[in-house]
Amino acid sequence: MRAFLAIGHGLMRATLVAFGVLFVAGCATLPEDAMELSPDSLKQRQLQTRRVEGIDEKALLAASVGVLQDLGFNVDEAETRLGVIVASKKRSAIDTADIITSSLETLAVEMVFALVFGDDEREGDIHFDVTQKIRICVVTRPALDSSGQPLQDTQVIRVTIQRLVWDDEGNLSREESIEDPKVYQKFFDRLSKSIFLELQAI
């Protein structure tokens, strides 16, 4: 009887887990505001956009490819007629400061658990970010005057960057847009130098 009950109990648990899996899988819905312009989208646009004068669109795209190469990116896709360049690179995502904080956190949590439950056999479960894929997209367009006509040799350039990060077990740990103004500032600083070189070569 006891054995029978044990099997019944096991089955019930398995069914519950199965339901749980399906429930979680079925409920992974897209956030409602996925396609809404966020209140800070204007701010983001500003920090990702620059106006460049004295250069035509093709030369600006060439200068941008130059910067991407300087930064070790590989071009995945380009459509000059739309002013589009897409590039990516895989790099280490190991962040020493991050490793120290998460180790200390885990240690602290384990100590609290050991104190409360007297259980000192909990397995440590620390994961570190190890690799990342950085994707960057450069889009140029001719700047327009107040009447909507393209201005001679004046372009607008917008850069957007995102990354995927994997931890030491190969699990995807982060997928995010990069919104740090410093990153964009550095990119544009390099771009101005590259534009200078590009214009000299012409």
Partner: protein, 139 residues
Amino acid sequence: MRTRYRLLVMLGAALLCGCVSSIDQVTMTDQSAVQMRSYQQRAFDTADKEQTLRSVIATLQDLNFVLDKADVDLGTVTATKLSGYQLRVTVTVRPRGETQMLVRINAGYDEEVVKDLKFYRDFFTALEKAMFLTAHEVD
């Protein structure tokens, strides 16, 4: 014991999902083409395909997407948004008659087609702003 649990769980999940071969997913769709197109596409009063594509790209950038591909001849743009989730969209721009451009977007999220109507409405609202034009519903 662990393995037996796992087997039972998988069996349970398979039984609950019904008998569908995973290869059927290639041609699987649970809505009619007409129904899908009704909310995925809008017409704009412009004959400029390139400008429309550029507006689509600008809108996608505003919405935090990074492009994957763009082709002006085919009129397609594919882009990905990463924001704690992965969302992939393809937008096509095709001439509709002499005076209009037909813009269609389809989206995939978490191994599923996005069916939320608000999602598509929000996209066209954002695109209208970038185009300075009204999005017309088409039959």
